[in-house]
Subunit: 490 residues, 2 copies
């Protein structure tokens, strides 16, 4: 077939790039680091958005929209934040172009210089907290539970489609609370929402935990995260939720009158997931034939391909196919019928495998005679021929089975490459094989930095679940409260 | 009440600003010309988006996402386009900040200057057609029917919330076709979608027509539009759909192999509506008490306010209210129950009037005894007390009636201020009174410009429907094919 992919074993990185391009998910644009999300890729993102948006609303959040631009001085208001975000960002300095004096094209009008430069938002804490200042006077105005769906820009030097792009799409929740406890609860609640989404919709098992101090979001007191493991043994941070304390309230002077008649700074959280999730989805399940999509996020869950000779046979098969489509749709199953006459069935089979459609049905002349249909499931590539009567219920169960099976497969893989390591020498050998290494660490940034420099491994998180037995740091031998998760990461 | 609005008769413009702020729809941000869309305003925009998105998909379109940034040189590729769009826009010149040498804040790093400046998209024809070049080789790749939901920036000097802001949210459809006929049909189809949406969801009557040459979109061969009329007699362009001919295909060299084995440039359309629609919605229906929302776009269609003394009475009323809510929701009616104890019923009544909730229900102690509920409709402010048994069906009809009534009210108003004018002297007097003036015009840009300069009136459109009798231009006496619509406009 024309669209063959590099195999994972040959070159995992090239396999990923090939897949993103050939499955029509995204491509690079003329603007360095900015991607075009193609319709098929965007349709998956829309499914993700819809589920997440529903989950946010069910937990009491509302959507709003804040400006794309942030005055340069705002970034400096919170000391840690500016260190983390003021570096690589797109800076708007002028607001007008004019015709070039040489008559060729346009130039920036030097007279249209902004008094203060504007930054294209890399994240919106600063512009939002400058706004919240006007919304909050008293405890009665709290909590504020806002989310926004938006584009953000971080001028990354090395970009990869979905995983790291200069512009990306995301949602960012920004909440304001009267108490520390409530804010911490909120940030933990949203981490649970992310984990629920990752596991039950993306079918991606994740480890929930807290970041070490050096991996924290710039301006946060705690960063909670979900960490996934890709098929090449590298970790991918799939979502973060930050407890921001009163840092942004202090930076923007957001105070409120408490119930007790005193005055206090407001407590904050922020949390976000982005189009990076597309990368996690692709790399967790897909194989050398292409994408494997979880039925819960597939733009269409079933595709029907007719196998026919001549218009008359096609008409008969199409009638059967349309009846079946109606029955599938009645069960809430999304389905596409591909009777495009310019492509052969073999081409279509390869194409829908490449695009990860969970279930493919084929109906041919013999099926018409026998009252059957051929079912192929994308995850295992297994085929079987079954009676077309009542097949819709079978397919409904099959989709549920695929959703569970691919989750379990990913969980089994993760389990197979997660191990306790107690010696740093062993660690250096094992890290080359990939996977999650659970190790004791003395809790210091120095040891963390040494490990990172020497092995390129980072602490993905201090996990909430699992073994909490104390031990001794594998590097320094000093006491460690519990094992933490090390891995090389995207 | 604290949130009183300026009346329309006193100062229409101030009334609008008051309403947008006090109904919690939007507010100005710290960034000049950029607004914050507040949760209640955004909830209305989300309802608009959901309906439009459904309509786009039902007409065969898919969503995609293209970069925020456009290389400066792209804007100059299409000669008319650059004249229209390259003037007032946000220009990114640098990609990095650094700590200020004086230790105070951050400065733009002069070494991080972009080789070619990037423009924050004012509209996306150029970046999209540079992408389509790679997607289109043959007629088999056509049509491409893409839409994107995005933010755009036009550096307007005078801004007003929703009506004209530097950054706004919109959707932009960009389609590619093999034939001129098909592209024209597409642009007309999408105009019909917009008109359908405006009339049946926003309850805003619109005139469909084509723009005069001087009002065309920069780069289009024809611009079709829907024009609405606000309560102050000024017109508001509510949506445009452009037939772009082969202009952008030529600018970006997008050719395809035709069915006949020849080569041709691709035909294009683009079409968009924006958060400006929020302005049209507000100004068409609202009154001196606040917003009036069409039930089809209201974030919640019904609010229930309990009127009680003491916790016991509240508990009894709440039980009734919850039963009623369940019955309303079963009919697909969205409803909010406001049992907030810190606000009095009178305050709540005023608040929900201000926020335009179509139907307000009040349940008090006497209603409990009598098995009744008080119903107030927002559009007419009429109240009545009816039996609570089966009231959900009554409310369903009432919501339909409100939708129709506010549409009819707007249509009647428009009819009352739409008139034929045949003399330019009379025109100068009549234009001061506002409304649509239907006049003969000789078809020249010179006459159009003269009228605009002398009266501030513009040709809103050459309407498709209505009187197509030829006549003589009111200014020059030269022949005119049909009357066109003049008005002062937002």
């Amino acid at each position: 077939m024309a669209k063959e992919l590099t195999s994972r074993s040959e070159n995992y990185s090239q396999w990923y790039n090939d897949l993103v391009i050939k499955a029509d998910l995204a491509e690079n644009s003329a603007v360095r680091g900015c991607m075009v999300i193609k319709p098929y890729g965007y349709a998956i993102w829309e499914k993700m958005q819809a589920e997440l948006d529903r989950m946010f609303k069910e937990t009491g959040h509302v959507n709003a929209y804040f400006p794309l631009f942030i005055p340069k001085s705002y970034l400096s208001r919170e000391a840690d934040h500016v260190e983390g975000f003021a570096k690589e960002c797109a800076v708007v300095t002028h607001y007008r172009l004019k015709n070039s004096p040489d008559g060729k094209g346009v130039i920036v009008d030097p007279e249209a210089r902004l008094e203060e430069e504007l930054i294209v938002r890399p994240t919106s804490e600063t512009i939002i907290w400058s706004t919240y200042k006007n919304w909050i006077q008293s405890y009665r105005d709290l909590p504020i539970l806002c989310n926004q769906w938006a584009n953000v820009v971080r001028w990354e030097m090395r970009t990869r489609l979905f995983l790291r792009t200069a512009e990306f799409l995301w949602q960012e929740g920004h909440t304001a609370h009267a108490t520390e406890t409530e804010a911490i609860e909120e940030s933990r609640r949203m981490l649970d929402v992310y984990a629920d989404f990752a596991e039950n919709f993306m079918a991606v098992p994740v480890v929930k935990g807290v970041k070490s101090a050096s991996e924290r979001f710039a301006g946060a007191l705690e960063t909670f995260c979900i960490e996934a493991l890709m098929q090449d043994g590298k970790a991918l941070q799939a979502g973060t939720s930050h407890f921001l304390g009163q840092n942004f309230a202090k930076a923007f002077d957001v105070r409120f009158a408490t119930k007790e008649g005193k005055e206090d700074f407001v407590w904050a959280t922020s949390w976000g997931v982005s189009t990076r999730l597309m990368g996690a989805l692709i790399m967790t399940h897909s194989d050398d034939n292409g994408l494997v999509l979880p039925p819960n996020l597939a733009p269409y869950q079933v595709v029907i391909v007719p196998i026919y000779k001549g218009d008359e046979q096609l008409a008969q098969i199409s009638e059967k196919a349309r009846e079946l489509m109606a029955r599938l749709k009645a069960l809430g199953i999304s389905v596409k019928y591909d009777d495009n006459d310019t492509k052969k069935p073999g081409w279509k089979f390869a194409e829908y495998e490449l695009k990860g459609v969970p279930v493919r049905l084929a109906i041919g002349a013999r099926d018409l005679e026998n009252g059957t249909v051929e079912i192929a499931r994308r995850d295992t590539l297994a085929k079987e021929t079954v009676s077309i009567d009542g097949v819709e219920n079978y397919i409904k169960k099959l989709l549920e089975d695929i959703q569970t099976t691919i989750y379990q497969k990913a969980a089994d893989y993760r389990a197979s490459v997660t191990r306790n390591i107690d010696s740093y020498d062993e660690f250096k050998v094992e890290i080359e094989k990939g996977g999650f290494l659970l190790c004791h660490w003395d809790g210091t940034p120095e040891t963390e930095e040494k490990i990172k420099e020497e092995t390129k491994a980072t602490i993905r998180c201090i996990p909430f679940d699992g073994d909490h037995t104390p031990g001794l740091c594998m590097v320094t031998g000093r006491p460690s409260a519990q094992r933490v998760v090390f891995a090389r990461a995207y």
